[in-house]
Amino acid sequence: MSSDAYFRCEDVHAWYGESYIVQGVSFAVQEKEIVALLGRNGAGKTSLLRTIARAHQPALKGGRIWLDGQPLHDMAAHEAARAGVGLVPEDRRIIPGLTVEENLIVAQVAPPVGWPLERLYEHFPKLAERRRQEATTLSGGEQQMLAVARALARELKLFLLDEPYEGLAPQIVREIEGILMQVKAIGITTIIVEQNAIAALELADRAVIVDMGEIAYDGPAEEVMQNAELRQEYLAI
């Protein structure tokens, strides 16, 4: 099925072992659009992101995922990455034992390559300062910056952000927010999953609310902010 949408999930079903996590999700994202994927804990948001990035787990057992005409559903994780999917996972997954710079270099081993190191360092001067330092010795906020920078080191068609603010102190959250606003300005198609719904909605153009593995709402971000009933029901805010 062809589609005019830039990115599209069609009736996606995914399983974590024996648990049915993503239960027939369909939604679309336009080019350069930023979508906040919201929902209660356990609603299947992270699983959906991982499914889109074609992680080994959860296993995609039905449905199609298209990105810019490419069938992601037929790909393995590394193929999806080469097709332009960039995931910043929940706990950042900074690679231990490697320096900051090496963490960026490994991102550019496989094509297509995005920003060169110089440009990354320009945007993330803190990382430039610590390029020789072992990456896991960075603070939580700096590690999150590195994770974002590492994603940008690749040429992105779809940017997947999983809980970028999790576990960060408020000042750091603001700092990361600033970086993401810069990314927004560049115009990369983005899906963001975040507990902190308000922060995510500030960033997003559109909101998709997942509940029990299904789409419960798909509409403009402002509407979620204004609709108290919706917030109470699905987001408990």
Binding site: A53, A77, H78, A81, R82, R93, V106, V109, A110, P111
Partner: protein
């Protein structure tokens, strides 16, 4: 110090180095495979002896130099086939399952070799350039009188050193090495960065087998070529890996050296020699729970 004591010590140290060299080569492959793939390959000793048999065949029909080239390549392929055909199905299963299946595979390889070549040793003649002894006193002026050591065993030490340096350079200074090191720690993340770690892991497994291949070619004439050698060499090599710390390459080297020297210096009290080896393992593991250079949380 009297001259004879210096001579004796020097010889014992060199013997220890040489004993350690072969353990080091096998342990290096074992620990590389464990460190990257998290797989405990109990068939590594069997790969070693497979290489020795292959080397005898190749060297017997052509010449030794060709064996040095062909056998490691052959083992590399064997490693790839083994990883793709069997090991990869065991990544998600517990370490104990990996040990069991590779142990079973080791038995199968050993028995198949016995079937094909018989249970007794088959001779592995040294190439002419490796034959004979080196007059150590000509190179080491502090030695007195006449001190010799087999040339081949010194070659083995040299080859081990080359392999170690080569592996270090490969892992530390190449992109392949960087991706492997990264893949060792965060395989999933590497996939999200577009790197097909699985393919590289197969190569790493092949590399481990290749090192066993080099060990088999150069160690064969020393450990002898018979089916049981694989299992006999695996146990101390595995001990070396554990003493050094699972997954630690420098640890394996240090442990191999310690074990080699311990064997060498306890030779005249052979009754306690075997006990000494295991005693070292016990003491190291009780004092340093994860081996000399093991990382926290590995394989527990």
């Amino acid at each position: 110090m009297s001259g004879s004591l210096v001579n004796a010590l020097t010889l014992q140290v060199i013997t220890g180095l040489q004993l350690g060299a072969i353990y080091a080569l096998i342990a290096l492959g074992l620990t590389l495979i464990f460190g990257t793939l998290g797989v405990v390959n109990f068939a590594h000793g069997a790969l070693y002896i497979l290489a020795s048999y292959a080397a005898v065949l190749v060297a017997g029909h052509t010449n030794f130099v060709l064996a040095v080239v062909l056998v490691p390549v052959f083992l590399f392929l064997v490693g790839i086939v083994m990883e793709r055909g069997l090991i990869r199905f065991f990544y998600d299963r517990p370490h104990t399952d990996q040990i069991l299946v590779t142990f079973g595979l080791a038995i199968v390889i050993q028995e198949a070799l016995k079937w094909a070549f018989g249970a007794n040793n088959i001779p592995f003649p040294l190439p002419p350039w490796g034959n004979g002894v080196v007059f150590l006193h000509e190179y080491l002026p502090f030695l007195e009188g006449f001190v010799v050591f087999p040339k081949w065993r010194l070659i083995l030490v040299g080859v081990s050193l080359l392999v170690v340096v080569g592996l270090f350079l490969l892992l530390q200074f190449t992109t392949f090495g960087l991706t492997v090191r990264a893949g060792m720690r965060e395989p999933d993340m590497m996939r999200f960065l577009g790197v097909d770690v699985t393919k590289r892991f197969a190569v790493v497994f092949g590399l481990g087998a290749l090192i066993a291949g080099v060990a088999g070619v150069f160690g064969g004439p020393i450990t002898q070529v018979s089916p049981e050698v694989g299992m006999a060499i695996l146990v101390p090599s595995f001990l070396v890996v554990v003493i050094g710390g699972m997954g630690s390459l420098p640890g394996a080297l240090v442990a191999a050296l310690i074990l080699g020297l311990a064997l060498s210096f306890s030779a005249e009290y052979a009754a306690v020699q075997q006990i000494v080896v295991y005693l070292i393992a016990v003491v190291v593991l009780l004092v340093r729970p994860r081996g000399l250079m093991g990382k926290k949380g590995v394989f527990e």
